[in-house]
Subunit: 331 residues, 2 copies
């Protein structure tokens, strides 16, 4: 049969295994113009938490008892479309199923010779695009400026920091273990790293790591970590609010220091970033990322979890930072 993961209950707070259900569905059959696909890699991402709630947002909520979807790389099993052949690999927003059919124009071909297939879910996929476009479109980086990245060891953060270094910025990353902090400096070339779990005063730690203040803050986490950054921003600072993973599982409206006085004092900007708003810039961004990757200027980490049925657990592990770099399930 065809294993499928559906949303069984809307999570309250932290998602639990019992919020998901693995069901057996019938094998699908492709219609004219469709592809029959076998899932190879599944991307799990923090933003999916938002879609599990029934709240108005930039993207529709998942429906109960229906499959969850995310970025997926799949193999073409059979194709009734001239542009695709059996054995091709494609990527797109697909469902958490072992097998599924898809319209040919809902996916795009990916080339396993040019880069590992999983990279199309990470550095050459949505996470790479998010890092590149968020930093450029809102962060507006200028050589010599200081960039702080939260969630720096994560899929997006680690790419943001590396791009920052390519562009000639001072780059400071915040992560949750000493091992990750070491990785930021050794593997990704960050100038400084801060372990928020062992740092008593984030504001002072940021000040020490950023002697010229903070010009750009690429924020993946929100919450108290960000409170320590904002007190150190420079005039005309830009804060890219890309995610708020520390707040996604809150059941009450999270409170913290008000940001408005810091924004006024510094003529600073804070802007929410959603990669899909910048679709017209995807080709240019992917070309640049692929070129840097080919030149060895960019590197990436993946945490690959084996087994389709472990997808919910891999997703939940994101919220305790069990991943280094992009979290991917291999089916």
């Amino acid at each position: 049969m065809n294993k499928t993961i559906v949303l069984d209950k809307r999570p309250i707070g932290k998602p639990k295994m019992s919020d998901f259900k693995i069901t057996d569905q019938e094998m699908p059959k492709e219609r004219a113009g469709e592809l029959l696909l076998k899932t190879t890699y599944i991307s799990v991402d923090p933003y999916l938490r938002g879609r599990m709630s029934d709240a108005k947002s930039y993207i529709d909520p998942f429906k109960l008892n229906e499959p969850i979807s995310s970025g997926i790389v799949a193999e073409v099993i059979s194709a009734t479309n001239d542009l695709y052949s059996k054995g091709d690999f494609v990527s797109g927003m697909l469902e958490w199923k072992e097998y599924q059919t898809a319209n040919a124009n809902a996916v795009y071909k990916v080339d396993g010779e040019k880069a590992p297939l999983s990279a199309y879910l990470g550095i050459l996929g949505m996470t790479g695009l998010t890092a590149y476009l968020g930093l450029h479109q809102i962060g507006a980086p200028k050589k010599g400026e200081t960039l702080v990245v939260s969630g720096a060891a994560g899929a997006v953060g680690s790419v943001v920091g590396q791009i920052g270094k390519i562009l000639g910025l001072r780059v400071v990353g915040i992560a949750g273990t000493d091992e990750k902090v070491a990785m930021l400096k050794e593997d990704f070339g960050f100038d400084e790293g801060i372990n928020y779990n062992t740092t008593e005063n984030m504001a002072k730690a940021i000040a020490a790591a950023c002697p010229k203040g903070v010009d750009i803050y690429f924020d993946n986490v929100g919450g108290e970590i960000s409170d320590g950054v904002i007190v150190n921003i420079n005039k005309f600072a830009r804060m890219v609010i890309c995610g708020a993973i520390s707040l996604y599982n809150e059941t009450q409206m999270p409170v913290g220091p008000r940001v408005q006085p810091f924004l006024v004092k510094n003529s600073a900007l804070m802007q929410g970033f959603i990669v899909s708003n910048y679709a017209d810039k995807f080709p240019e961004a992917i070309a640049q990322l692929a070129s840097w990757l080919g030149e060895g200027k960019l590197t990436y980490k993946e945490t690959i979890v084996d087994g389709f049925e472990n997808t919910p657990q891999a997703f939940m592990d994101l919220f305790v930072g069990r991943n280094k770099g992009k979290m991917i399930v291999k089916v």
Copy 2:
């Protein structure tokens, strides 16, 4: 002698009369190229509170035992500069003194025939510029959008709302008394007004007044009023953070709901606005404001307090909303 108001103590929380001192200083004498000026009108503005604290900000703090300065209109008593004559009026950032000298290039001539002299401290001065440039440069208004203004009956807010109507927006204002709310609609042409002091649930009141959601929020107050606005913003909303009068007298870091999740969900922008960053756009803005004023499309209110020695009280009255429109002291 020459009465002068100096900062005697840095206010803690709400400024008190005892934070100021009126002293008698010697009559100044102009040097070559300088003007001897007699103060006519003094502008008191909420942002001056920030300069009374000894904190890093976009403008240097006032020094203790030295005169406070703000926007002032003054009469030229004698001039050693060919471009000015006795009897001319000038405006500039000057000190709270009855008489002072100033470099001729630190002030500019104002014409009492074209508009009342006090208008050069309001609608044709910094408050008009703040309203016009804040709304255009950050708010980026488009016809048919919904604009919410806090501190709407104040000097800046009342102009923002009127410009919004000229540009074809739906305009909703928030103020603190029924009288002010009536004024918003009757005198300034706002579509709706909300009295925050008699409204139990700001979020619901904003939702009711903005059936299509909020596209632009011009924020002069910060705090709980703004909390009710942000839950109603639309995708791509722009929030002009122009001031946070409700927070200026706080002695502890004010806390409130975190804004980051709202920014991410709506790809929304929040940016601190300081008019002096846009000095290159002043001539164009003043020309447009003067033209609208001449055509009768803009109107303004002033609260004029008599007597130089009442300047500190007029300033303090801003924080309890005792002004309608621009607060000005007539010397």
